[in-house]
Amino acid sequence: MEANALDQALMVVGTVMIVWGAVSDLIGALGMLRFPNFFVRLHAATVGTIWGAFVPLIGVSLFAAGYEGLGFYRWFMAGGALVTAFLLLLLAPVGSHALARAAYRSRAAEVKPKVVDFLEEFVKKVMGGENDRA
């Protein structure tokens, strides 16, 4: 039952990434609960998805690649977790960006700590205040 050095290194790195992801997930959830409005909460969502979901999925992949106790399904689980991680890395920012754009253009959430908003001025000047249509 003595695992070799490479497998042990993979498992230690995977465990560190999973625990790191748990801490980041808690930080992201606290930010999601405590931040004042939608456009500030997008920042907490970034922490919660990339550091709280992408990093532990890579950790699961490394852990499964070094864990001989999984038997026949070892590489299935390592590869599946890797595919999930890269899908999430591509899809989470695209989804958040589409949601933020829609929330801005439909005025569903207000831009609260605002110093200057060039897009709003541009739309008002060029398109005659017609901001709520795509």
């Binding site: 498992m11 995977g14 999925l57 977790a81 949601l99 253009r105 959430a109 795509a134």
Partner: protein, 93 residues
């Protein structure tokens, strides 16, 4: 290092994930606007996909890995649907 020690460390990390899920659910229920709720459900589900993958490795249940992939893809579909509805007030044909 023995693999049982590492598995125990991962087991101690699981309640932290559950606490984070609880905070996301609070925001998803009381979020004042629609984008707030969708953003909270979004982050909750991506983290749930990671949690499923961790459970699959710790308890040796390989069928949970495809479940995590499908969950990530459906939550992306939710984002796009809600964004499209907010922008043009219709779901698309």
């Amino acid at each position: 290092m023995d693999e049982n020690v590492l598995l125990n460390m991962i087991l101690y990390a699981l309640p932290v994930y559950l606490l984070a899920f609880l905070l996301y659910v609070v925001r998803a229920v009381k979020g004042p606007t629609i984008p707030d709720m969708v953003l909270a459900v979004d982050a909750l589900s991506y983290d749930l996909a990671a949690f499923l993958a961790i459970l699959a490795v710790v308890f040796k249940i390989p069928i949970l890995i495809p479940v995590a992939i499908v969950l990530a893809l459906w939550i992306y579909a939710l984002d796009i649907y809600v964004a499209k509805y907010l922008e043009s007030k219709e779901m698309g044909e």
